[in-house]
């Protein structure tokens, strides 16, 4: 996992992808752009990390994909969160918040 600006924490990428897809279906590039936008340009996900992660999440049953016409009227592969994916997002969000809280406390101390 590599980023131009900040390196992603292990496991963060999955969370970000799930979050990016929470609002609706996106194709691969769309997911990347959405993450960039959501994090205010802090994270830039490289294709070499993005696509393996998408495929992995799909095989885990958290995403499904369909081929649909894209904004340029060509076919693109769109990913959608499944019900299991939504549950996973909630779980991972809770987990993340717990860790973040812990780290914040540690840094304040």
């Amino acid at each position: 996992m590599a980023s131009r600006r900040t390196s992603l924490l292990q496991g963060t990428l999955d969370l970000l992808i799930l979050k990016a897809l929470a609002t609706g279906e996106l194709h691969g590039l769309g997911v990347s752009r959405r993450i960039e936008q959501m994090t205010g340009g802090t994270f830039l996900v490289q294709p070499g990390s993005l696509f393996p992660a998408l495929h992995r999440l799909e095989e885990a049953g958290w995403l499904t994909s369909t081929w649909e016409p894209s904004e340029n009227n060509r076919r693109a592969k769109y990913y959608t969160l499944t019900r299991a994916g939504r549950r996973q997002l909630e779980q991972e969000t809770a987990e993340w918040n717990r860790i973040a809280l812990g780290i914040a406390r540690a840094l304040e101390a």
Partner: protein, 864 residues
């Protein structure tokens, strides 16, 4: 991760691989197009937009690879990839792999075939329920002769309580007519209860015999073996109830037995019921060949005693006889097999180890040569696990191919054994000879371990020293120390094992040659012997027998080429009646020994070319009790003295010696078989007699002899007609087979060791080219370079030899009982073995040494 989803993904990824790949391609292409579109919108030119998009996406193939790696079933997928790669490597340089496969296949095939034989001949006694309780009963007379019993005795045994069951089974042969043709098949006449006695016999179709079968009106029943059902009746589905013709009689088939059921002989294929209480068709009183199952409650010795008493009470002719018990399980425990088969099995295991070690060292040499390839791949980012998997895949491919061909080799060998093994071997087992699946699985497993070990090690070494060895191998360094030591150690073991095998094989071959060459004390060439029986009902008295014997003798004498003919009871090499007990000379000397007792006509000695050393042969006028003794017998009773004119006593009977003949020898591993002998005058043909003929220049065909005997008297039954040379030749069948097998194993092992040495040295020379070039440049002569290589080979060979010589000596001592006329330290054998191994080593090192000598320093430097 839900298991079901994952399983579905794995299935999709592996089975619909093309569609998944196509999807991935499409996705990459679509992403690229989207990037281009995005860039164009920011105002780039079309070309710039595409270039920027390509940059942003990065190397597409690498992205795709990363996606493939996370897919479910990626391991299996990459294993398939590794296998495809292995197949490519194999196609590119098939030589070494083929050699390895051939060696491993030979090892697997020969070992499992041998195990199949050992198992059938030695390990499994007989394939029946509780075989240790089964036995065959005979009545034994005072001369050691064995006879069957009258039906009344069988019935008495059934009622005496010593056995849980008593049945009869008599092997026979018969002409079977089918489709207008005839074939000779082994059949058996059995009492209906025999299948219950053996236990666990189930017909494939139809039923077994019932008590009513064989009784009047129900004699025309038959059971067929699956074998004849297949070969003669084309698996006729309606065979049950059909009539077939056996021995000229029409019989109804009532059942089919598995081809695995072999009883009472290994080749019995048709069974007929017999009712012992009814008189037989020929009018002869039927005899029973008794098989019994002991009860657990009566001790064996008591059972035998009860059986003897019962037999004497039921039949007066048994008064002087005793019961002899031949355990059925002991049928196979022939002393020769007990000694020879374990030795041969040990030999085959040694050969198997040599071949496995050789396959390992061959693969090791080849794969170590590819260490550079592994190093490069490791430097390019292949993980160690990935490289190990690659090595594993290549080994698996090799092992699988070897296992498959090994099965083929084993199957062929067992089929050959079934067809070509002398009957003397096969008759020893009632077990079917089928390639043993356990042995096959075991040897294939060991072979696979050997290849995997050899395949994984170089990959491991290659990944361990990636960076460093990349530099080193480029500089043409010598072999890595670990691989070098391992290969030399494997080779030393190979040479040692080959040496042991060679010693064993040479001793066996020498023993066989000694056996074949040993003096027999008679002239075997040009002698034919005919054994016949003149059964009682047809020949009621001595006069009718004498008349028949005269007529038969005249018939044979009239044949062209026949010079002499003489009747006797007892013919070499099987001998006459065996008499054992105390022999007392006229000087009171008492010797306890087993003696061959022949009854011979006056011409017996001249016909067999046995010289009379003292005295004379028989005269028709000689009174009973006149004998000629062999010199061995004379030496035992009257050491150093002339026996002619002396007398001796045996079983209160007095004998008068008129001559001394040279001893007949029976060369055999078992010295007890070479008994001393003495001859009595032939008192006339009994129910069983032998007629020997000497012919010059050539003997008539045995079939012609049979025909003439039948013409001499139609009721005479010919048991066998054989050339004496053939009989002696067959006596040697087993030592010959053992020697030949051992020699084959030893030659395979030696060739394998030589091949191993050759490949390892060739490989070492290739690795040391640089060193040899520098040495030559510094003034070393070609001879010095060559001797370096040969010395390398010799060192391995000599260390192997010294270990092998010690083990071989021990081996020679272990198999002493199989040696005839040689000692474990036999100088000829050892010279041969050492010479063979040293010459083999030099030959195997020769080409690598030449290659080393031909290294041109100038070219070498240019290559650098």
């Amino acid at each position: 991760m839900p298991r079901l989803t994952r399983a579905r993904s794995t299935w999709r990824n592996l089975v619909h691989r093309d569609r998944v790949e196509h999807d991935l391609d499409e996705e990459m292409r679509a992403t690229f197009e989207l990037l281009v579109e995005e860039n164009t919108r920011t105002g780039m030119t079309a070309a710039d937009a595409r270039r920027a998009a390509a940059l942003a996406l990065g190397p597409i193939e690498s992205v795709k690879d990363q996606v493939r790696d996370v897919r479910a079933g990626a391991t299996i997928d990459s294993l398939m990839h590794d296998l495809r790669y292995a197949v490519r490597m194999f196609r590119r340089r098939p030589g070494p792999s083929l050699v390895a496969i051939a060696m491993l296949a030979t090892a697997i095939g020969v070992t499992s075939a041998m195990f199949t034989l050992v198992d059938a001949l030695l390990l499994r006694p007989v394939p029946f329920r509780a075989p240790e309780d089964l036995a065959h009963l005979w009545m034994r007379d005072e001369h050691g002769g064995l006879v069957t019993v009258a039906p009344a005795v069988l019935q008495a045994w059934r009622e005496c309580g010593a056995f849980s069951s008593v049945e009869s089974a008599e092997a026979d042969t018969a002409l079977v007519e089918f489709d207008g043709s005839v074939a000779v098949r082994a059949i058996a006449h059995v009492t209906p209860g025999i299948f219950d006695l053996l236990g666990g016999v189930r017909p494939l179709r139809g039923r077994l015999f019932e008590p009513a079968d064989g009784t009047a009106g129900n004699t025309d029943r038959a059971l067929l073996s699956e074998d004849v059902w297949r070969s003669l009746y084309h698996r006729d589905p309606d065979i049950i109830g059909r009539r077939i013709t056996v021995g000229g009689e029409s019989l109804i088939v009532i059942g089919i037995l598995s081809s695995e059921f072999r009883f009472p002989a290994w080749n019995t294929v048709i069974w007929r019921p017999i009712d012992l209480s009814a008189p037989s068709r020929t009018g002869a009183a039927p005899r029973a060949r008794a098989y019994v199952r002991f009860t657990k409650t009566v001790p064996r010795a008591d059972a035998a005693r009860i059986a003897t008493a019962t037999a004497r009470a039921a039949d007066a002719s048994n008064a002087q006889k005793r019961v002899q018990v031949d355990p059925l399980a002991g049928l196979v425990l022939d002393p020769y097999y007990q000694r020879a088969v374990p030795v041969l099995a040990g030999a085959v295991v040694l050969m198997f180890l040599v071949l496995c070690a050789n396959v390992s060292s061959l693969l090791l040499a080849r794969l170590t040569a590819r260490q550079r390839e592994f190093s490069v791949r490791s430097a390019l980012g292949a993980s160690r696990a990935r490289l190990l998997r690659q090595g594993l895949a290549e080994s698996l491919l090799l092992g699988a191919l070897a296992g498959a061909s090994g099965t083929g080799v084993g199957w062929i060998l067992v089929s050959l054994a079934r067809t070509f093994l002398p009957e003397a071997f096969l008759i020893r087992t009632l077990n079917p000879l089928d390639l043993d699946a356990r042995a096959l699985a075991f040897t294939a497993g060991v072979g696979l371990v050997a290849t995997i070990a050899a395949g994984v090690l170089p990959a491991w070494l290659g990944s361990r020293m990636s960076g460093e060895s990349l530099r080193l191998t480029d500089r043409g360094a010598t072999e890595s120390r670990g691989a070098r030591t391992l290969m030399r150690a494997l080779l030393t073991v190979e040479v040692a094992l080959a040496c042991v095998l060679l010693v064993g094989a040479t001793l066996l071959v020498r023993s066989f040659v000694n056996l074949a060459r040993a003096g027999r004390g008679l002239e075997t060439r040009g002698v034919l012997t005919a054994t016949m029986s003149l059964p009682r009902p047809a020949f009621a008295d001595a006069a009718s027998r004498t008349a028949a014997a005269q007529s038969i003798e005249e018939q044979l004498r009239a044949l062209p080429g026949v010079r002499q003919a003489t009747w006797s009871f007892g013919i070499p090499p099987s001998g006459g009646a065996i008499s054992f007990g105390d022999w007392i000379s006229d000087e009171g000397r008492t010797i306890d020994m087993d003696v061959d007792r022949y009854s011979v006509g006056p011409q017996f000695f001249s016909l067999y070319g046995i010289p009379l050393l003292r005295g004379r042969s028989f005269d028709p006028a000689d009174p009973a009790g006149t004998v000629v003794v062999g010199d061995g017998f004379a030496q035992a009773l009257w050491p150093g003295a002339d026996p002619v004119g002396r007398t001796f006593t045996f079983m209160r009977e007095r004998f008068h010696v008129i001559g001394m003949a040279r001893e007949i020898h029976h060369p055999s591993l078992d010295a007890r078989l070479d008994r001393p002998e003495f001859y009595e005058p032939f008192a006339g043909v009994g129910s069983y007699a032998m007629l020997s003929v000497r012919c010059d220049p050539a003997c008539p065909d045995p079939a012609l002899i049979r025909q003439r005997i039948a013409r001499g008297h139609p009721a005479a039954r010919v048991v066998s007609v054989r050339a004496l040379d053939d009989v002696y030749f067959e006596e040697l069948a087993r030592p010959r087979a053992s020697a030949a097998l051992a020699l084959v194993f030893a030659v395979i092992a030696t060739l394998a060791a030589a091949g191993g040495l050759f490949s390892v040295l060739t490989y070492a020379v290739a690795r040391r080219r640089r060193e040899f070039g520098i040495r030559t440049a510094l003034g070393a002569s070609g001879l010095e370079i060559g001797s370096l290589v040969i010395r390398d080979g010799m060192f391995v060979a000599l260390s192997g030899l010294s270990i092998g010589a010690l083990a071989g000596w021990a081996m020679g001592r272990v198999m002493r009982s199989l040696q005839y006329g040689v000692t474990p330290g036999d100088p000829v054998s050892w010279t041969v073995v050492l010479a063979v191994l040293v010459i083999t080593t030099v030959v195997a090192s020769w080409r690598p040494a030449r290659q080393a000598m031909l290294v041109n320093p100038v070219l070498m430097l240019k290559e650098e």
